[in-house]
């Protein structure tokens, strides 16, 4: 596989190729096993990355970092009292 194909496959895997060119490349891959494998495995790799789950971040994480900042001396408040995620709601 030459350099041009390699560059095209990079763009193809990242879905950066215009549709017409992507179709041309798929046609070329039908008769070129190396090209077909390169396209399939690189696309799989990108798809796996894009589907890789983000680390969890919930309210406890939000508050823990907020408290860290506050203990380091930061004066951090929020626009409205209700929007402060850690605020204790007084019973009526």
């Amino acid at each position: 596989m030459n350099d041009l194909y390699r560059k095209l496959v990079d763009l193809y895997a990242g879905q950066e190729l215009p549709e017409e060119l992507a179709l041309d490349l798929e046609s070329a891959a039908a008769t070129d096993e190396n090209l077909a494998t390169d396209m399939a495995t690189l696309t799989q790799t990108v798809n796996l990355l894009k589907a890789h789950p983000a680390p969890e971040f919930d309210e406890r994480d939000f508050l823990r970092i907020l408290f860290r900042m506050q203990t380091m001396g930061a004066d951090i408040s929020f626009e409205e009292a209700q929007s402060h995620p850690g605020q204790y709601q007084l019973p009526m």
């Binding site: 990079d10 690189l42 799989q44 990108v46 990355l49 789950p53 680390p55 900042m69 951090i76 408040s77």
Partner: protein
């Protein structure tokens, strides 16, 4: 953080202007807007929750310290990521007294969870020059321009590293990709 980038951009402008005027609530609102993104990025860079929390807190503290220099010119997000990145690199250079590993856990079927562990292990083995573009562009879905600005390189250089990184990751995944067929 809303799911609407335009709303986020307007909110960012509003809070940056408020922060420059000394509004105490502005920092909290900017933290609400970007806290999770910065945490996710630092966690992906550092691989453990405690260091990621430290780096996230320090990132916002640095913003607070430079509140008077801030401009609502649309470059805040990139600047924020650049601060976070520098802090991560500093942390990576520090000798570790205790290596904390295995903090990442994945849900789903056993097979899927195993695959995710394999992907993470392969990512962790990549050189930083390759890993960073993958984290920013493929995992965090940040635009090539913003990622390039964060790393302080040109867009073509970013793309070159991104494409090489994907190929390097594919090599490391080798057998696992075969099993997916």
């Amino acid at each position: 953080m809303s799911s609407n980038p335009r709303e986020d951009s307007l909110a960012e402008k509003r809070w940056l202007n408020a922060l420059a005027k000394g509004d105490a609530s502005a920092m909290g609102e900017l933290y609400k807007l970007y806290g999770e993104k910065i945490f996710r990025y630092t966690f992906r860079m550092l691989g453990n929750r405690a260091d990621a929390e430290d780096a996230t807190a320090e990132t916002f503290l640095r913003v607070l310290r430079r509140a008077n220099d801030l401009r609502a010119d649309g470059a805040f997000k990139t600047w924020l990521f650049r601060i976070a990145r520098n802090l991560c690199i500093d942390k990576m250079r520090q000798p570790k007294l205790l290596e904390i590993s295995g903090e990442r856990s994945y849900s789903g079927t056993e097979e899927r969870a195993a695959l995710r562990v394999t992907v993470q292990a392969a990512l962790d083995e990549l050189p930083l020059d390759y890993r960073e573009p993958l984290i920013l562009c493929d995992l965090e879905d940040i635009s090539a321009k913003e990622a390039a600005d964060t790393l302080g390189i040109s867009v073509p250089a970013l793309k070159s590293r991104l494409y090489r990184g994907r190929r390097a990751l594919r090599e490391k995944l080798g057998g696992s990709l075969e099993k997916l067929k």
